[in-house]
Amino acid sequence: MLIGLQVLGGLVSAAILFLVAAGLTLIFGVCRVLNLAHGTFYMLGLYAAYSLTTALHGLPGAFWLALVLVPLLWAAIGAVLEAVLFRRLYGVDVLLQILPTIALVFLGQDLVRAVWGLTPRLVSTPPALLFPLHIFGVTAPAYYAFVVLAGIVVAAGLWLLIARTDWGLLVRATARDRVVAATLGVDTGRIMTSVFALSMALVGLAGVLFAPIGGASPGMGVDSTVEAFAVVVVGGLGSVWGSAAAALGFGMLKSFGILVAPRFAVAFVFVAMAAVLVFRPAGLFRAPE
């Protein structure tokens, strides 16, 4: 009974963690940039979902519209940000690389303060998924199952995209060696722009999906960035599948950690991270160099 509920809760955390971390690790793997503002865009995705659904108050499809519109909008913002800002940071000293992303974190926090204020904002669960679902021998909100399903579908889609399409081949080539890829005629600039757009779409999607579960609050941007860092480092920098596995592990750790020590469930993630790195310095899914 209880275990079934914890498993489902863990899967929900894992799905969200994966969507955030996958974008982060993609940007790092292909563009070699560490984006400290990644979680900020997750937070802004939640607020955008809130504003869209409240603006369309009464419309039954408001949530679904947000689920489509926010990722599309985030992809567009990502493409513009890459072209205007991040492109200038490739190959630059790491301190100068993270500074603009820290500035983006501040800007995001101030934007939230100015537009939405400090009170947490909740998004109501879409009416179509408001029924209880009997799964794993427990009764749980159907929306939880939907989030888990969405995570799995996106992960599978991501795999198809990276492993089975021409675009994916070019992405892998750019990630492996940008200069050689460019010499062989790959338009690496466009590849990096599209990877950035995809990553932003993923993080926007994560924001909308989580909005009915946890709601939006001002401090969550930094928190989710740091949690995604733990996922990415444990999974192995640049490895999407490592991130998926680490997200699953951390999701379960958080969910079952609540049973052991409710207050320290999140801390377990970072303790596990440190423990993994002591024994496998390159992360779980990347061969040590």
Partner: protein
């Protein structure tokens, strides 16, 4: 990588930099002292922030290790001292224990983070600092959680703002002098060698990892001292001291002032504190604006404010 190191001026302004930093700090404290008790109450946190930023720059500027977890060391020092003081220990032994705990925490952090690629290093320092933050925030029985840890005070003779400010001036000046000596000692040279080319430094016979961990421990002790000074000044420690903003503010200040000179973070910290004190009455979005300014400084003036101020002096 090469882009910035080529753009940074590598000549050191051996005397001009520290002299300028001392002059500006004295001017700031003196100016605030003229404003009386209230001014001194502003001078103390300013000096503490100066020391905190300078201790971070031992890692960032001299060591080339961009740590985003410095707040954890600051908070460890402050909280350990506060806890001991609350349980009846005198200020001196509480302070020493706080400094030692911060150095120990720094060593542990370094043991996990040092020797990785710069990006992983940043992510790890930030994640470990978050762990410290969560523990302080959630372990209410010991740390007081988000209510803060209160219920202790410095000894009678230090309770006046003037006396405490004098103590802070002495402690910060002493720590900065030690830091300056250290950066100009053979150890400092070794640390710079490791920063510029770890492979070559190792080949020359330097124990790269030991040097980096030692730098972390020393930097942690200094950050811990800053935390201790703040704890007894506020007569309390609060969870924000371990937060993301504490680390990033210090990092911004290092870049603003210039990471490659000793005076850089000191000047940067003074400017930051001046802005943080004056700007909120003009706009509540000052931190974002300052962030953008620091980005521009970092990209176009990597030598920072210290470089801008000192360049004419060096030419003469």
């Amino acid at each position: 990588m090469s882009l910035t190191s080529a753009a940074l001026p590598l000549r050191t302004y051996r005397a001009a930099g520290p002299a300028l930093a001392v002059a500006l700090s004295l001017a700031a404290v003196g100016g605030l002292a003229l404003a009386g008790e209230q001014g001194l109450a502003l001078a103390v946190p300013t000096l503490i922030f100066v020391l905190f930023a300078a201790s971070l720059n031992l890692l960032v500027g001299t060591g080339g290790m961009v740590s985003m977890g410095h707040a954890a060391l600051f908070a460890t020092g402050g909280y350990v001292a506060a806890l001991l003081a609350k349980h009846g220990f005198d200020m001196a032994s509480a302070a020493l224990a706080g400094i030692a705990a911060a150095a120990l925490m720094a060593t542990a952090m370094a043991a996990i983070c040092v020797g990785r690629e710069p990006t992983a290093f940043i992510m790890l320092t930030l994640a470990l600092a978050q762990l410290v933050y969560i523990v302080i925030w959630k372990w209410r029985e010991v740390t007081g959680g988000d209510d803060g840890l209160i219920g202790f005070a410095p000894p009678e003779w230090l309770r006046g703002t003037g006396a405490y400010c004098a103590l802070t001036v002495l402690a910060v000046a002493g720590a900065l002098a030690a830091l300056l000596r250290l950066t100009r000692s053979p150890f400092g040279a070794a640390l710079r060698a490791v920063r510029d080319n770890a492979g070559r430094a190792a080949f020359a016979g330097l124990n790269v990892k030991a040097i980096q961990i030692a730098a972390f421990a020393i930097s942690g002790a200094m950050a811990g001292l800053a935390g201790v000074l703040l704890a007894f000044f506020q007569r309390g420690m609060f969870v924000e001291s371990a937060g993301f903003a504490t680390s990033t503010n210090a990092l911004l200040v290092c870049v603003l002032g210039g990471t490659r000179s000793f005076a850089g973070p000191i000047i940067g910290a003074l400017v930051f504190r001046a802005v943080a004190t004056l700007a909120p009455s003009v706009t509540s979005y000052w931190l974002s604006m300052l962030g953008v300014i620091v980005v521009l400084v970092g990209l176009y003036r990597p030598e920072g404010l210290a470089g801008l101020l000192l360049r004419p002096a060096a030419r003469r």
